[in-house]
Every structure is written in structure tokens, then in C-alpha cells.
């Protein structure tokens, strides 16, 4: 009896390896040692995304209202991603939400879940990452069919009353292969297009025609995840603010408040939780209401509340640092003194380190792959260029 119970476990254990086929990515180098995959190839892969994202300096939509539609239908319970598609999606979404608010402090986000043929709101459009993640984690179960139409309709009502300067975006994370709709989804797509909603889809299984259609019609993107890492990667592609839509409203002034931090130990009734809170908090400059977190909208007077740090953090999207050029390591150049040298960021030896050699087009300094990632994704300043400026000043 006991043995019978164990048998399926064994199979599942074996299948985990059979499905991963991790041995296929092993590579044997010249000396017969096994390496896990081709480093340089992976680095190039990573950089390709970066290069694609960087273009000429363009107007970007900094104030975004993004509606995340998650598919928790029966298909999300499949286990081709471990432990299940749903769990993997939840994890990736968590990262995405944090990263999104980190890079877009002026933006808001809401989560909708599709299951059992209907779409339901998990969190309203708001600015607090923790609240979204908490709500999502308490909502993890999958059953029934997915209905893209219901999801889009709900998102449509959601974004209808947001101000015209905001960028309306929908990101659908879709596990299922089909959608069970109450009506004609093509009509809904037209409606979304008319409402200037940019709908992007992240698929987990295969390319689906209707998803492609939705993203093409509304100007969004469509990608299908190969594996867990790839899923995260393509989801994070939605983090940087998109180019402003051509027919978006012309520049206009947005009224914003920069609240002061309340003194420690002060006791006040919080406007967002409607309960007594001690310490911290921010005071709305117009109506003096206390809010817990920034950025948000004052729940009394409706003023957008941000801090100056938020604005500054959004700034780099408008003036990005240029992508570094890859220098091909030519065999003839190797060993020449001009080509030796180390990374300007971390001082690691560049030749023979298994890293790409990347050069900033402005200051002509070389960097290693890790520093390149750090500079472009977190620092948003080039150390080489900054020192040049300093030298110029002194």
C-alpha cells in the first residue's frame, strides 16, 4: 500500500528532470569540462532586449495606468512550469509590480483575475505595490475557463474615467489556449482600440491568433514565454514607460501636490485606512489629510500626491544613457596592449573573464557585462561620463 503511494511521486520526480532537459544545455569545452550553457550567448541575448528598447530620444508616457489581467483558469493549474503555471505567474507578477512602481513612481496599477468564465477585480487602480501583492497572494486558485472578452470589458470600464494625460495600458498574462466568451470579442477589441488602450499579451504556452490580433490592433506587444526566466524577462519588458502614443493629448499641466512628511509620533486619522495611526505619514498640502504612502491620490481632495524623488526617478526614462557597443574580441587583437585593460566600473580584467567587452560611445570607457547591466538597469548614470564632467569642471 505504502509502495503504491510512493510510485507516482517517483514518476513526478523523474518527470521534473525529463521536462527540464537541463542536460541539453550543457556544453563541453576544449578541455572536456562541462559548462552550463554558453555565457556569451546568454549575455548577448540579454543585451538584445536592451538594444531593442533603446531608440532615439522619444516622448514617453511617464504617467501610466496599467491594468494587469491574470488568467487563473483551469489551464493555469498545469504543471509544465514548476510547481504550477499559476505559482510561477504569481511570482513573476510580484517582481513585476515592485519593479514597475520602482521605475514608474507616478503611475498606478490594478489587477484583474479571469477564472471560471468571469473576470473579477482583485485590486483597484492604486499606487501601492504591497497592497497589490498581498491581494494577489490571497487569491491563488485556478478553475474554469478564461474569458478574454470579460477581462477586457472590465479593464475598459476601469480605465474609462482616468485623466486624459494618463497612458492606458493592459497587460494580459495568458495561460489558456482558448477563450470562452459571452459575445463577440472582436467588437470588444475595437472598443478598446477606440479607448486608446494599449493591450499587450504575455503567453505561457503557444502563439494564439486572437492574442496576436488584440496586441496588433491596439498597438501592444505579444510574446510567449519559453521558460520561467524568459517569462520574467518578457514581463519586465513592460516596466519601462512606453513611447507616448502619437494621438495622445498635447502637453498640458498636471496639478500635483508634494506632501510633507508628518512628524514622528504625531497621531492622526489616516485618510486611506480610515483609522487612527501613529507617526509617519504624509500630509496633503491642500486639505491636510494624512496619507500613508506615496505616490497616491488624496482620498479627500483628489490631488495627485508625489514626492520630488519620484519625479527624479522617472526622469531617466526621458534622457536614457546610450547603449554600449559590443567590441568583438578579435583573435589578432588579443594580447595587444591596447586591448588589455579592465572594466572601468569594477576593475575586473576584461580579457579572458568570459564576459563581453562593452564600450560607452560617449566616454569611450570599457565595461564588463555585469556593470553594463547595473548601469543601465539600476544606476542610470554612466560612471565614465560622470567623471569626464567632473574633470571638465575641475
Amino acid at each position: 500500500m505504502e509502495e503504491e503511494d510512493k510510485a507516482p511521486d517517483m514518476e513526478a520526480w523523474e518527470r521534473a528532470y525529463a521536462d527540464d532537459r537541463s542536460w541539453e544545455s550543457l556544453i563541453e569545452d576544449e578541455s572536456g569540462l562541462l559548462k552550463a550553457g554558453d555565457d556569451v550567448q546568454q549575455q548577448r541575448q540579454h543585451r538584445r532586449r536592451l538594444i531593442q528598447a533603446s531608440g532615439p530620444r522619444i516622448q514617453r508616457g511617464i504617467i501610466r495606468y496599467l491594468c494587469l489581467i491574470l488568467d487563473f483558469s483551469r489551464a493555469a493549474g498545469e504543471i509544465d512550469f514548476r510547481p504550477s503555471r499559476m505559482a510561477v505567474v504569481a511570482k513573476a507578477v510580484e517582481d513585476f509590480v515592485r519593479e514597475y512602481f520602482d521605475q514608474n513612481p507616478l503611475s498606478q496599477l490594478g489587477i484583474i483575475v479571469m477564472k471560471n468564465g468571469i473576470a473579477s477585480v482583485v485590486t483597484e487602480l492604486s499606487g501601492s505595490p504591497e497592497a497589490h501583492i498581498r491581494a494577489l497572494k490571497s487569491n491563488l486558485e485556478s478553475f474554469g475557463e478564461a474569458s478574454l472578452q470579460n477581462g477586457l470589458e472590465l479593464a475598459h470600464t476601469y480605465v474609462q474615467h482616468i485623466p486624459s494625460y494618463g497612458h492606458r495600458e493592459v497587460v494580459i498574462v495568458f495561460s489558456a489556449l482558448s477563450t470562452c466568451d459571452p459575445g463577440n470579442i472582436l467588437e470588444t477589441v475595437k472598443k478598446c482600440k477606440a479607448a486608446r488602450m494599449k493591450c499587450s499579451v504575455v503567453g505561457l504556452t503557444a502563439e494564439i491568433y486572437i492574442c496576436k490580433h488584440i496586441s496588433q490592433e491596439t498597438g501592444g506587444s505579444y510574446a510567449v514565454a519559453m521558460n520561467e526566466g524568459h517569462l520574467k524577462e518578457i514581463l519586465l519588458e513592460h516596466v519601462p514607460p512606453p513611447a507616448a502614443m502619437p494621438d495622445a493629448s498635447s502637453a498640458s499641466l498636471v496639478r500635483m501636490g508634494f506632501p510633507q512628511r508628518g512628524s514622528e509620533g504625531a497621531v492622526a486619522i489616516c485618510a486611506c485606512h480610515k483609522e487612527l495611526k501613529i507617526g509617519g505619514g504624509y500630509i496633503c498640502p491642500r486639505c491636510r489629510a494624512r496619507v500613508c504612502e506615496l505616490p497616491t491620490e488624496c482620498s479627500l481632495c483628489g490631488l495627485a500626491l508625489v514626492s520630488s524623488a519620484h519625479l527624479a526617478r522617472s526622469y531617466h526614462h526621458l534622457f536614457p544613457i546610450p547603449t554600449f557597443d559590443e567590441l568583438l574580441v578579435d583573435a589578432s587583437l588579443r594580447g595587444k596592449s591596447s586591448f588589455a585593460g579592465s572594466c572601468f566600473g569594477c576593475r575586473i580584467q576584461l580579457s579572458g573573464s568570459g564576459s563581453l567587452r562593452l564600450r560607452c560611445p560617449r566616454c569611450k570607457r570599457d565595461f564588463c557585462f555585469d556593470c553594463d547591466v547595473y548601469i543601465h538597469e539600476s544606476l542610470h548614470n554612466c560612471p565614465g561620463c560622470e567623471t569626464l564632467q567632473e574633470e571638465a569642471v575641475t
Binding site: L177, T179, D181, I185, G203, T205, A206, E207, V224, M226
Partner: protein, 768 residues
């Protein structure tokens, strides 16, 4: 782009050319230079049509002695596509060398049904009724009568054509059927007769196979084509069947009943004529004494079908005395119908050769062979004399005469089979008398003999050496091209075992095994849960499909499938299937996903392509062997063995593999979807379609079946995709779909394309 192949300047309307297209052109040019026939296999969807057109029209420009290009297609839809491509090519040529040199006249020709613009007649539904409606308005005697009597209706378009159009040629250009209709409306000319007139002057003619292969039609339409023509049969993989069908006749009870009615009516008309206009009948008698050949110069609108036998077999002599008089001929027909009726009334299967059939016919019913030969022409002449315009009512007697003429003319290559009932349904009496042609080379022989170069081409001609034997000709070039894919967008798999590791097959002794049925069901179920949008399943026959769907329904598999995708089933009813297909497409478009169950040899869904998301996966359940107990098939196999030394097994496997392939390949029409409009600015968007095919039968794993797949599929069929079980197939499918969903690298697709500079470089290298 413009480039030179061995001294010939070729104009190609795109900026890039695929390697295999270039290779195809080189081989084709060799064949044209040698003035011989050729057989070329190139993967579907690689732009065969434009390659052919561009080389041949360029060849025509360089060699004005060439008469014309005759391009034969299977369907009207394909015809329009060819003409569209040609128009693009023509525009390009005009741009390159000026409109005066690049002058061509190209047009499509189809039946009256597709070309008629008469407001009433064109509304008719069937081909025959449109033909008859046209004759009612345009027959010479009707128009003669209309000159004196204004109440008689004629067709204004035909009158317009007759007055002016027949003299003036069409301005040069490319005319699709639609263009012809528009032009006809503008000028008030009949497009059908205009087109028929103009094919004499055209450089490129696009029409159906029948216009060359079926002697009944080709006798009228293609009689005046010069020898220096290039004939192209596109999508010619079942050309042998077309040839055979052109010379085969089936007679059933209702045909004979209808023929009797027709004969009765003819009798009435004859007696009426005798009273009013006996002179006419006498004139006809005199004409027949002089021989049928005399009636060659009939008026254009009066001839509708020529003799069903091939041109060189028609006798140029006088009609025998016993059928010269109208009443004698009708009595002769009556006896013939009576005799056939007696033959049909049998309860055993009878198989006979034409010789013994005519011998017994003449002893039993006094119908001599010589008279039989003339039946069809005699009937034709009689209907003209009697000024019958409702030819669609006389179809049955025409079929009978068609049969009699063929039986009387040919002694070899045919067989007559009388079956009292369908073998598969022995309880329902359905006697049928079949005159079946066994030799495909008969019908196509005149084409090979008459024209300088005949090009037979298709995506699947494998095994390519069988075709010359089947069609009995000597091609100067035989070549099978592979394709250069930008990525592995084709994923063929051979599934030999179910999820329980037991073999699956549609073999007769296994097909009703519940284990096999369940395994097939599980396969479908797993696949619909893995593959997005459209899935198409092919079964070996209608009865097998009905059986398996029933069992799946009982096992609850169908209900589970429905959770993932909607299910549509092909039936033998045309309207029903069209509706099912339409809804299938809709379900795929709106994201619900759908499965279509079809039959490998099904006539209804034939010619419908499941491209892009409509066919991400095709599953072929079983090997679609022909029904081997069929008498006709056996007769044909025997004939092939005795005459061409083709082994039965070889032919059957070839046929089965070919027909399963043809079903499966319908999804790959647009492997390379080349959109000319998007070639702007030297950026080519290679939107590569992709799809999977599963051959679910252990017998596909045998080398004798596998080797019959075309080279370009075999090259995609990897070792690890053979002999799969269901779960392995699902795994491969999942990986494949994920891989294909990734955006394709534009850098890679560039490497399979050649630009003008590449070609010039290649030309500079002598050893390419």
C-alpha cells in the same frame, strides 16, 4: 529584379529570390531549351507560380517564335491567383523595358457559369443550366428567328460581341475573370465568347485542366493551339486521376430512366418536325451521308461539346446507314438503353473488356460496333437539327451516347464493371454500370504529342519516377527541389504508439479494437490541450470516421475535447460542410479554438487550405489506402502491372501516402508568405507560417512508406520524431510551439534570400 540565367534575361518582380526558386528556373530553362517535357517537384508555398511565370514570360520575350503559355490550374480560385501574380509581373516588366516591348495579352477562361453577365442567365445555379440558358438566347436559329419576330428574346451582350467584338482584339494586358466581366459590361460584349475568341491571340492563357485533357471540351476550346506552346500543369499531383475521370462514364438506373424520357421526347419532336418541316430532316440525312467531318464549321455559339474520344481516334467517314435517319437513330438508342437496362439488372458483379461487351451487345440487341462509335456525334447533330435549346434536359441521353461512343471506339485500356450494389452497403440495391478508363496516359498523350514543352509541377510528386511511367512519357528533366527554411517551421512526427505504449494503426484487424480507438482519442485530447487555435484531423474514410466519433462519444472523450475546442465534422453534404468550415474559421478567429474532422479523400473539403492559425496541427489517423476490394481499383492495378510493370503494392502505398500527404499539406500553403506590398524599402518581412503534422499509424514508420514522402519533408523528419508515443509527441509539440512563437530573426531569413547583387556574384563564379 533583373538577372541573367545562361544568357536569358529574367524579369522577377520581387527584390529577393529564394535559392530554390533560382534553381527551379535553371532546370526549367534547360527543359525549354531542349524543347522537351519536364517534371519538377518543389515544396508548396515557395512561390512556384511566380517562378514559372517569370521565367516563361521572359523566355517568350527572348524567343518570339514561342506561341503561348497555357497554364492549367485545378480551380477557379487558383486561376485568379495565377493571373494576379502575372499582373504584378507584367507591371514590373513594363517598368523595366517599357510598355511597348512588354506587351502581353493574358486571360483566364472558364465556363459560362463564371463568365456570364446576362442578368437572368447568370443567376442560374448549375453549370448546365447556365449553358442551356445561354443557348436559348444565342443559338443561331434563335437569333435568325429573332430578326423577323421581335418577341423572341436574345442576349444583347452576345449581339454586341457578334457585331463588333469578334473583329477587334482586346487591348493588351492581364485579364482575370472579374476583369473580363467588367470589360464585357462596359462594352456590352459577352465575356465568354470574347475570351474564347481571344485565346487565339493571347500570349498567356490560364484555364482548367479539363480544357486540355477532357476531349469533350478540348475539341472545341483548344483545337487551334499551335505546337510551339508551353503547357504547364500546376498542382499536378493527381493529374492521373483527372485523365482517368475524363474518359470514364458511370451509368445508374436514373440515367437510363432519364435517357428513356429523353428519347420519348425526341420522338415527339421528330414527329412534329415531320409534319411541319420534313425538309430539314432530309437535309440532315444528306449531310450525314457526306460524313460528320463536314459539320466542323458550325457557328461558335452552336457547338457545346465535342466528341468524347481523343482527336486521332475520330473517324472521318460517313455515318453508317442504320442511324442516318432520325427515327432510326432514336430507335437505335431505345434498343441500346433497353439493353443496358437488362445488363444493369443483375445480382452478381460482372467485369468485362470493351471487346466482349460490344460483341455481346451486337449479338443480343443488334447494335453494331461501328454505329456505336458515331452515337455521340449523331446525337449532337440531331439536337442541332431539331433546334433543341434545352440541352440541360437531355443530359441523360448524352451520358448514354458518351458511353456508347467510348465503348465502341476503344478496345484497350478500359474495362466495364457492373455492380449490383455498393460492397460496403450490400443491403441497398444500387446497380451501377461503370466504364472506367484504366490508363491515365491515354487522355494526356495528345497533349504530350502536340505541344513542344509540357511542365508538370507540384509540391508532392514523390516518388517522382512513378509519374513518367503512369503517364507514359519521357521527360528531359526530372528534379525534386528541397527548400531552405529560415527556421524549422515544419514539424512532422510519426506516432506509432499510444500513451499505453501499444501500437496504433487503422489496419483492418485493429481498427475496431477499443484500445486503439481510446489511444487515438487520448492523442486528440492531449493535442487539443496543447495546440492553440485550429486543429484538423483526417480519417481514412467516412465510415471509419463515423465509427470512431461514435465510440469517442460513448467513452466521453468527445465531451472532454469540447472543453478545449469546438468540434466540426465534414459530411458528404456540400452545404453542411461549407457551413461547418465557416464556423470553424470563426471559432479559430475569435480564440475559442476548433477541431475539424475530415476525410483524407473527402471530396467536399478538398481544395480548402488550412493555413496559418486555421491549421496549427494536422493529425492523420491511419493510412488512407484506397478501398482495395473495389473492382475498379483492382482492374486498374492489374492493368498497371501488365502494361507498365508497376507492382500493386507500390502503387497502393504511393497512392495512400500521397493522399495522406495531400491532406496534411493543406496547411502549408504559405510557408513563406510573401507580401509584395511589404517589400517596400528593401525590407522583406518574412512572415513564416508554421505547423505540425502527426502521422498516427505504426505503418508510417516502415521505410517503404517513409521513403515515399517528398525529400523536403524527409529532411525535416528527424530521427527523434519517429516511432513516438503520445506523451513524447505532446512534449515535442509543446517545445515546438513555444519556439515558433518567438519572433523570427530577420538576419537569418535574409540569408535564404538572394538579392540582385548575390545573383550577379554567383553568375561571375563559373562553377556554381
Amino acid at each position: 529584379m533583373k538577372f541573367v540565367i545562361e544568357g536569358l534575361t529574367v524579369y522577377f518582380p520581387y527584390e529577393f529570390i529564394y535559392r530554390e526558386q533560382y534553381a527551379y528556373m535553371v532546370e526549367l530553362k534547360h527543359a525549354l531549351d531542349a524543347r522537351g517535357h519536364c517534371l519538377l517537384e518543389m515544396p508548396t508555398g515557395t512561390g512556384k507560380t511566380i517562378t514559372l511565370l517569370s521565367l516563361i514570360t521572359s523566355y517568350q520575350l527572348a524567343n518570339p517564335s514561342l506561341a503561348k503559355l497555357i497554364y492549367c490550374t485545378r480551380t477557379v480560385h487558383e486561376m485568379e491567383k495565377v493571373l494576379d501574380e502575372l499582373r504584378r509581373l507584367h507591371l514590373y516588366q513594363e517598368k523595366e523595358i517599357g510598355s511597348s516591348r512588354a506587351k502581353i495579352l493574358a486571360l483566364g477562361l472558364s465556363s459560362r457559369k463564371n463568365l456570364c453577365i446576362h442578368p437572368v442567365v447568370s443567376g442560374e445555379t448549375s453549370r448546365e443550366s447556365v449553358d442551356a440558358g445561354c443557348r436559348k438566347l444565342t443559338a443561331s436559329w434563335v437569333r435568325a428567328a429573332a430578326e423577323t419576330n421581335l418577341d423572341i428574346e436574345t442576349c444583347s451582350f452576345y449581339q454586341g460581341y457578334e457585331k463588333q467584338g469578334s473583329e477587334q482584339p482586346l487591348p493588351p494586358g492581364v485579364y482575370t475573370l472579374h476583369d473580363l466581366r467588367v470589360y464585357g459590361r462596359q462594352r456590352g460584349w459577352c465575356p465568354y465568347f470574347l475570351a474564347r475568341q481571344m485565346i487565339q491571340f493571347a500570349n498567356v492563357v490560364v484555364y482548367n485542366y479539363q480544357y486540355l485533357l477532357d476531349p469533350k471540351v478540348s475539341g472545341i476550346i483548344s483545337k487551334e493551339m499551335q505546337k510551339e506552346c508551353i503547357v504547364v500543369f500546376d498542382e499536378a499531383h493527381n493529374i492521373d486521376n483527372v485523365c482517368i475521370e475524363a474518359l470514364s462514364v458511370n451509368l445508374r438506373q436514373n440515367n437510363l430512366d432519364g435517357a428513356s424520357r429523353n428519347i420519348h421526347k425526341l420522338n415527339q419532336i421528330i414527329s412534329r418536325f415531320k409534319e411541319t418541316d420534313a425538309n430539314r430532316l432530309r437535309q440532315e440525312y444528306n449531310r450525314l451521308v457526306e460524313g460528320l467531318a463536314q459539320q466542323g464549321n458550325l457557328h461558335g455559339s452552336d457547338n457545346w461539346l465535342a466528341n468524347p474520344v481523343l482527336p486521332e481516334d475520330i473517324l472521318r467517314e460517313a455515318v453508317p446507314g442504320n442511324i442516318r435517319r432520325a427515327e432510326h437513330f432514336v430507335a437505335f438508342l431505345q434498343r441500346a438503353v433497353q439493353y443496358l437496362r437488362e445488363r444493369l439488372d443483375t445480382d452478381t458483379v460482372v467485369k468485362e473488356g470493351p471487346v466482349s461487351f460490344t460483341t455481346t451487345m451486337s449479338t443480343a440487341a443488334g447494335l453494331d460496333q461501328k454505329a456505336l462509335k458515331f452515337c455521340y456525334d449523331r446525337l449532337h447533330s440531331l439536337l442541332l437539327t431539331l433546334e433543341v435549346t434545352e440541352i440541360d434536359e437531355f443530359l441523360h441521353v448524352q451520358t448514354v451516347c458518351n458511353f456508347l461512343t467510348l465503348v465502341g471506339t476503344y478496345t484497350r485500356g478500359f474495362s466495364i464493371i457492373i455492380e449490383p450494389y455498393d460492397e460496403r452497403m450490400p443491403h441497398i440495391p444500387d446497380p451501377v454500370l461503370q466504364l472506367s478508363c484504366l490508363d491515365a496516359s491515354l487522355a494526356i498523350k495528345p497533349v504530350f504529342d502536340r505541344f513542344q514543352s509540357v511542365v508538370i509541377t507540384s509540391g508532392t510528386l514523390s516518388p517522382i519516377d512513378l509519374y513518367p511511367r503512369l503517364l507514359n512519357f519521357n521527360p528531359v528533366i526530372i528534379h525534386s527541389f528541397t527548400m531552405t527554411l529560415t527556421r524549422d517551421c515544419l514539424c512532422p512526427m510519426i506516432l506509432a504508439r499510444g500513451s499505453d505504449q501499444l501500437p496504433v494503426s487503422s489496419k483492418f484487424d485493429m481498427r475496431s479494437d477499443p484500445g486503439v480507438v481510446r489511444n487515438y482519442g487520448r492523442l486528440l485530447l492531449e493535442m487539443v490541450a496543447t495546440v492553440p487555435d485550429g486543429v484538423v484531423c483526417f480519417f481514412v474514410s467516412y465510415s471509419y470516421m463515423d465509427g470512431i466519433i461514435n465510440s469517442w462519444n460513448e467513452m466521453g472523450i468527445l465531451q472532454e475535447v469540447m472543453q478545449h475546442k469546438l468540434v466540426f465534422i465534414e459530411t458528404q453534404d456540400y452545404v453542411e460542410t461549407t457551413l461547418a468550415l465557416e464556423n470553424f474559421r470563426q471559432a479559430c478567429d475569435c480564440g475559442r479554438g476548433a477541431v475539424f474532422f475530415s476525410v483524407a479523400r473527402g471530396k467536399v473539403a478538398e481544395g480548402i487550405d488550412f493555413d496559418r492559425h486555421y491549421g496549427r496541427l494536422v493529425i492523420m489517423f491511419g493510412v488512407p489506402f484506397q478501398y482495395t476490394l473495389s473492382k475498379i481499383l483492382n482492374a486498374r492495378l492489374e492493368y498497371l502491372r501488365d502494361t507498365f510493370q508497376i507492382k500493386e503494392g507500390d502503387f497502393l502505398t504511393f497512392d495512400a501516402v500521397a493522399s495522406s500527404l495531400r491532406s496534411v499539406l493543406r496547411l502549408f500553403v504559405y510557408l513563406y508568405q510573401r507580401q509584395a506590398a511589404q517589400c517596400v524599402g528593401r525590407v522583406i518581412r518574412s512572415k513564416a507560417d508554421y505547423g505540425m503534422m502527426i502521422f498516427a499509424d505504426k505503418r508510417y514508420n516502415l521505410p517503404n512508406k517513409r521513403n515515399k514522402l517528398p525529400q523536403w519533408i524527409q529532411s525535416q523528419l528527424r530521427e527523434e520524431h519517429l516511432n513516438l508515443s503520445t506523451d513524447m509527441a505532446v512534449h515535442i509539440a509543446r517545445e515546438f510551439l513555444r519556439r515558433m512563437a518567438q519572433p523570427s530573426d530577420p538576419q537569418v531569413s535574409k540569408s535564404t534570400l538572394l538579392s540582385q547583387e548575390d545573383l550577379e556574384k554567383m553568375a561571375a563564379m563559373p562553377n556554381f
